[in-house]
């Protein structure tokens, strides 16, 4: 039997093949089409895609092949072969369209057939100008069609989802989209339907097919939104479509590819640092695409990375500084706004030179989790050097001191740690407080690549769709008590045995911070199983903020702010005599202190108050003075005293540090006069009499490089939080349940504003409880969840098999379920659940 195409070739086995007279040596198992690429010979193709399994469907890549028979003499195959499905063998001789008339005739024939039913609507087609079919028809096709009959037509477009539209008459049925959905995303929501000339891509919609009584079955039925094709990765199908059959609602008919300027960039939506391409025209972003980065995101991005960019340029974009006068925010010049901000902060830090200075209570700084490394560094330095405080925390989410110790000891300044490639190759992966699809985006795709070859365990309240697609085993945990589950992994436990396979990885998410003892337990488990740990937060700026020291107890490079030598090293580099040595407050404490008037002022970056359990707006109201550095007129900006406009990611350059610890530098896509946070802070510091030295990205990076990573003795000690006692049995008839919650990938996060087509693909907000809990509390239909604060959440209940009892899961920020704002609780807290009033 010949080698199957998907076997991993051994690197040492090179075979010799001659293509168009050029002899080359390639790894065994290489497909002819790939071998040809290696020596610069392009064979036309449509269905072939290097990241998808071979299909051999379009037949465009036919070439003449001869290979040695048992007697050693070359024997030609009687007919042209599809070069995208046939692996090379020793001594094979291939003649492509360049050297074989038969191959050229075969390709021209297939091209003619592809075009007989393809509309000649290139002038209005989104793909026109960047279309493989158009290009290859020009290079390998006939000038004029011999087809004189009526072309096949379909009603158009067919909405596969609110975002993805399908023009079936343009489709050449290469099946790249269906193969992507099945093989890469694991979301087989679209497939071929009907047959022959009426074959088409679709979502099993009986209204389209005219079937009677056929509904979605299998994976397609599991999409509880009721929307078809609600995959988090559906946008990739548009990009790999070799014709204009798949388009997005947001880009369709908006532009011609040759009018666009393309700028490479890095996505601001998650901590993966996916490479993207921003296509813009006259300063306006028209679309974003995945860029090819084999070590990070390969050729894929999430739909959020691709479609969520409108937020940067909505009507509430701030372009001029605002200063509060007579209770109203009014536009002001930069000098005026900087002076006002400086005055307010000077008073708060007690540097006015008046007796009031004695009562000054200082300033807290909240940079937010979406800043670049350079911005985070500027906030960290601004707090210490200008505001003389350690009250700075970029973690505007659930956090803890234990987490800070973990980050300082094991994450900050450790450089490139676990990588995407290592995650893909790991024999066993344990997920702790981490949802690969909802919170990881392309991390899920890497794990999916190894599905079936890799053992996955997840410590969670239930098996959500992502881990389920990975074939993961649930290690059920009551939220807040993940530590005891992690600690129990030892001895003869199956998960522990598997985790001891060399190369295994423990992935821990940012939610672990909300569960006392978990990070301590993870470190201990890693030590005993000899596994490695990857910390994968959600937001793009989290890792950079840790590196830059934008945490209360951490200085740049993982230095412990409480260690004098570490502090002095940084002070020396910054040209300061000393740095503040008071213990800094974390974000929650900063907000609470401001609310309690224990802090006078706040400097706030990109923080959305609705993401916080603490009441940030109340803190701003109670604080004497607030400076907001914002892109948009948010509730925070509206409440501030001075608002300094800053640039959104597409209008600035900088670096996101992704969860691997990889520096993901990006340049400015669209040049405007908007300034980055670090530049604004540099100006503000100057106004306050300090040269912060953060005016440019280059200056900051030079400084960061000279600081380097902390010596072990300068780092915080690894956390030693005890594992809390087993949870007491609760969930009686009083309806008290423990809350589990995380963000779904497509939800109502602020960076998804202004993109209704994307929002339409989000999953419906449901509450999840176990069958026993639903039974005990009589939960069905719409249920009401309440907690200590504010409002109530009314969502339909979805009874979930295999879920831990006495727990209710809610999406953190999906339509109708804003947990932080409405309930003011975090995972592990108790909420009250009641069935619908009958």
């Amino acid at each position: 039997m010949s080698t199957s195409a998907d076997q991993t070739p051994a690197t040492t086995d090179l075979v010799t093949v001659t293509i168009d007279g050029i002899e080359t040596h390639v790894e065994q198992g290489t497909l002819i089409i790939r071998a040809a690429e290696q020596i610069g010979i392009e064979i036309p193709r449509f269905c072939d895609h290097p990241l998808l399994k071979p299909a051999g469907a379009c037949r465009q890549c036919l070439v003449d092949v001869a290979s040695p028979g048992p007697d050693g003499n070359l024997r030609a195959f009687p007919k042209p072969q599809a070069s995208c499905t046939m692996p090379v063998t020793e001594g094979m001789v291939v003649n492509t369209q360049n050297t074989s008339e038969e191959a050229e005739r075969a390709q021209k024939g297939v091209m003619e057939l592809l075009l007989i039913n393809h509309p000649l609507d290139c002038p209005v087609c989104d793909k026109g100008g960047e279309c493989p079919l158009q290009n290859q028809a020009m290079s390998h096709g006939r000038g004029e069609s011999r087809f004189v009959d009526v072309k096949r037509v379909f009603e158009k477009p067919l909405a596969l989802s609110s975002e993805i539209l399908l023009d079936r008459e343009r489709c050449i049925l290469c099946q790249r989209c269906t193969r992507f959905s099945q093989e890469i995303a694991g979301d087989a929501f679209i497939d071929l339907q009907n047959r022959g000339a009426m074959q088409q891509i679709g979502t099993f919609n009986e209204d389209v097919l005219g079937f009677d009584g056929y509904g979605p079955v299998g994976a397609a039925a599991e999409d509880e939104t009721g929307n078809a094709f609600s995959s988090y990765y559906s946008g990739n199908t548009i990009q790999i479509c070799p014709v204009g059959a798949l388009t997005s609602a947001s880009y369709r008919f908006r532009s011609r590819p040759f009018d666009l300027v393309s700028s490479p960039g890095i996505s601001e939506h998650d901590s993966s640092g996916s490479a993207i391409r921003t296509d813009h025209r006259r300063g306006k972003i028209l679309r974003r695409l995945a860029d090819n980065d084999p070590v990070v995101n390969e050729e894929w991005v999430t739909d959020k990375d691709r479609f969520a960019f409108a937020w940067q340029n909505l009507a509430d974009r701030i372009t001029q500084p605002l200063v509060r006068k007579d209770g109203e925010l009014v536009e002001a010049s930069w000098p005026e706004a900087l002076a006002a901000a400086a005055a307010g902060l000077t008073a708060a830090i007690g540097k006015t030179g008046t007796p009031a200075d004695k009562k000054a209570k200082g300033v807290g700084v909240l940079p937010g989790g979406r800043v670049t490394l350079e911005d985070a560094y500027a906030y960290a330095k601004f707090a210490r050097l200008v505001l003389d405080t350690n009250d700075v925390d970029a973690r505007t989410r659930w956090s803890s001191d234990e987490e800070q110790a973990f980050l300082g000891a094991s994450v900050a300044g450790t450089g490139l740690g676990v990588t995407f490639a290592e995650l893909e190759k790991a024999p066993t992966v344990l997920l702790v407080g981490f949802e690969p699809e909802d919170e990881g985006g392309v991390v899920f795709l890497r794990l999916k690549k190894s599905a079936g070859r890799q053992k996955v365990f997840t410590v969670a309240s239930h098996l959500s769709r992502g881990p389920e697609k990975l074939g993961a085993t649930l290690l059920p945990a009551v939220p807040g008590h993940e530590a005891s589950v992690v600690a129990s992994l030892k001895g003869a436990k199956a998960a522990y045995k598997d985790l001891r396979a060399p190369g295994s990885i423990i992935v821990v998410g940012e939610r672990a911070a909300a569960s006392p003892g978990t990070l301590t337990a993870v470190e201990a488990l890693a030590k005993r199983a000899k596994a490695r740990v990857a910390w994968i937060p959600r937001r793009a700026g989290e890792r950079g903020a840790v590196e830059a020291g934008a945490l209360p107890g951490l200085l740049p490079g993982g230095r412990d702010a409480a260690v004098t030598a570490a502090r002095n090293a940084v002070a020396k580099a910054w040209g300061a005599s000393s740095l503040p040595n008071t213990k800094g407050r974390d974000a929650d404490a900063i907000i609470a202190a401001a609310s309690a008037k224990a802090l006078d002022a706040l400097v706030i970056g990109g923080v959305d108050d609705s993401d916080l359990t603490e009441d940030l707006l109340k803190a701003i109201t109670n604080a004497k003075f607030t400076v907001s550095l914002e892109v948009r007129r948010t509730a925070v900006a509206d409440a501030a005293d001075v608002v300094l406009p800053v640039a959104p990611p597409s209008e600035k350059s900088g670096t996101f540090v992704n969860w691997e610890g990889r520096l993901r530098a990006f340049g400015t896509a669209i040049h405007t006069d908007a300034m980055s946070d670090h530049r604004v802070l540099d100006l503000l510091a100057r106004q306050l009499g300090t040269d912060l030295g953060t005016a440019t990205v280059d200056a900051i990076n030079a400084e960061l490089a000279s600081l380097g990573a902390a010596a072990t003795s300068h780092r915080p000690k690894a956390p030693a939080e005890p594992t809390p006692a087993a949870p007491k049995k609760s969930g009686g008839t009083d309806g008290e349940l423990v809350l589990a919650t995380w963000h779904q990938l497509v939800d109502e996060g602020a960076l998804q504003d202004g993109e209704p087509y994307l929002a339409g693909t989000g999953r419906m907000a449901v509450a999840r409880v176990s069958p026993a809990t639903a039974e005990a509390l009589g939960l069905h239909g719409v249920i009401t969840v309440t907690a200590k604060r504010r409002g109530a959440i009314d969502v339909p209940v979805a009874v979930t098999e295999g879920m831990v009892d006495n727990v209710v899961w809610l999406p953190t920020k999906s339509p109708g379920s804003w947990v932080a704002q409405q309930l003011g609780v975090q995972p592990g807290d108790t909420v009250v659940v009641k069935g619908a009033a009958s």
Binding site: M1, S2, S4, A5, P54, A55, G56, A57, C58, R59, Q60, L62, P78, K79, P80, T85, R105, A106, G109, V110, E112, L113, L114, I116, N117, R146, F147, D149, R152, I172, L173, D191, L192, N194, R195, G196, A197, M198, Q199
Partner: protein
């Protein structure tokens, strides 16, 4: 004159020939009884030595196909009987399963035993509900009589047979599309390799055999290799069904040694209908290039038919007399291939669509001389380019009919219509028949 050799059809004339008792009373299950005492390798060797070649059309040696299975690894191995008979003109497997389903089941028992399979499947085309029912009944009878289930006849051999009804697609006669369909997927051919012998049903080693091939196994075991090999020609041994249909006096199944000629078969069928003469015929169903009267003495074995420019295929002889318009006949076949194209690959999906449009135009007298060339050019873009053999099949009747009857295509163009009287070719009262029959 070659004699008919009724072997599989020997019991068809008996009262309730499909019942277990009738079958058993006439030597049924003797071969299985014998096989279960034999060494597995000996059974495979016997089938190899007999020279039995696949009766589903391709003619691949059956024993060699079994021999391709890898060594047992403890996991399941499957036998799948291809009973998706759908080729226009083919009508041999359906009567076999109707008249003597136990021949098939006995063949499956022997084959499954030989290849180490304990779960076998019959994939029967869904349209023939009566056959489906009869197979289910026969399987139940075989089980009641101890021929299926656990520890068959005390030998320790276990076998289950599942009868599966397809949903009506010609492509599912292609063995890998059949396997996908049997697994509950969309029936489209798979990429090969891996071949079914290595990774077939549920990615396990699988043998896929035609009904007639499997039914031929019991007589080989019971009567011996020499008996089987004494029939037929040097490389095409044994007997087989020749299915005659069309303008002959007695259409039907003629079980005869391979190598018999069409002239002999037509004579056995009582000759052409009264007052008419042969115009063209298919040796193996619509997928094989047509023959004319000059091929009447070509021995109907794999080699001779191949040498004469066609294929033995399923030995389905559709016989047309001089009243038949070849353009219309080919147009009907082309419609079939367009309708049955699975859509997976470009040449077949788009090509058959185009071919049908041109054929329709020509038959309606609206074609041009350029259309005749376009037909051949389009066929050239399909044949040898498609993913599976269905694409090649669609071009066979067109290319061969233009070769032999180009002047008839030309007449359709120059006369601006079909020169034939449809009613004259019909074997029914054409004028009073419903509209659908006028296609």
């Amino acid at each position: 004159m070659t004699d008919l050799t009724p072997v599989l059809s020997a019991t068809w004339g008996l009262d309730r020939s499909w019942n277990f008792d009738t079958y058993a009373a006439h030597g049924g299950y003797e071969a299985a009884t014998k096989a279960l005492t034999m060494d597995k390798a000996d059974i495979i060797q016997a089938v190899k030595d007999s020279g039995l070649r696949g009766r589903g059309g391709a003619g691949f040696p059956t024993g060699m196909k079994w021999g391709f299975l890898p060594e047992p690894d403890g996991g399941p191995r499957y036998l799948v009987v291809n009973a998706d008979e759908s080729e226009p003109g083919a009508c041999k497997d359906v009567p076999t399963m109707m008249a003597s389903p136990h021949t098939v089941i006995e063949g499956m028992i022997i084959t499954a035993f030989a290849i180490g399979c304990d779960h076998a499947f019959i994939y029967v085309r869904g349209e023939v509900v009566h056959v489906y029912r009869r197979l289910m009944k026969a399987v139940a009878e075989a089980r009641d009589n101890g021929w299926l289930g656990k520890d068959i006849k005390g030998t320790g051999f276990n076998l289950e047979i599942t009868v599966h009804a397809g949903a009506g697609a010609y492509i599912c006669g292609e063995e890998t599309a059949l396997l996908d369909s049997l697994e509950g997927r969309r029936g489209q051919p798979r990429l090969k390799p891996p071949f079914p012998a290595v990774a077939g049903l549920y990615a396990r080693p699988t043998v896929v055999n035609n009904v007639e091939s499997i039914a031929s196994v019991p007589p080989i075991i019971a009567k011996g290799v020499d008996w089987f090999a004494s029939m037929g020609t040097e490389k095409s041994k044994g007997m087989g069904f020749f299915s005659l249909s069309g303008h002959v006096k007695r259409p039907g199944q003629y079980e005869a040694p391979l190598g018999i000629t069409a002239r002999e078969l037509i004579e056995m069928a009582g000759g052409m209908r009264e007052g008419h003469e042969l115009k063209f015929w298919t040796p193996g169903g619509s997928s094989t290039p047509i023959f004319t009267d000059e091929h009447l003495d070509t021995p109907l074995d794999y080699e001779s038919v191949g040498a004469a420019g066609s294929m033995l295929g399923t030995r389905s002889l559709q016989i047309f007399d001089e009243t038949t318009c070849v353009v219309r006949a080919v147009e009907r076949w082309t419609h079939f291939y367009k309708h049955e194209s699975c859509g997976k690959c470009t040449p077949c999906r788009e090509g058959t669509y185009w071919l049908e449009l041109i054929m329709r135009r020509l038959e309606a007298g609206q074609g041009t001389m350029a259309d005749i060339q376009q037909l051949l050019d389009t066929c050239d873009s399909i044949a040898g380019r498609a993913f599976c053999a269905l694409g090649d099949a669609a071009t066979a009747p067109i290319i061969s009919s233009v070769e032999y009857f180009r002047e008839e295509y030309v007449r359709h163009v120059t006369e601006g219509g079909c020169p034939f009287d449809r009613a004259a070719a019909a074997l029914f009262d054409y004028d009073s028949a419903p509209e659908e029959a006028h296609a």
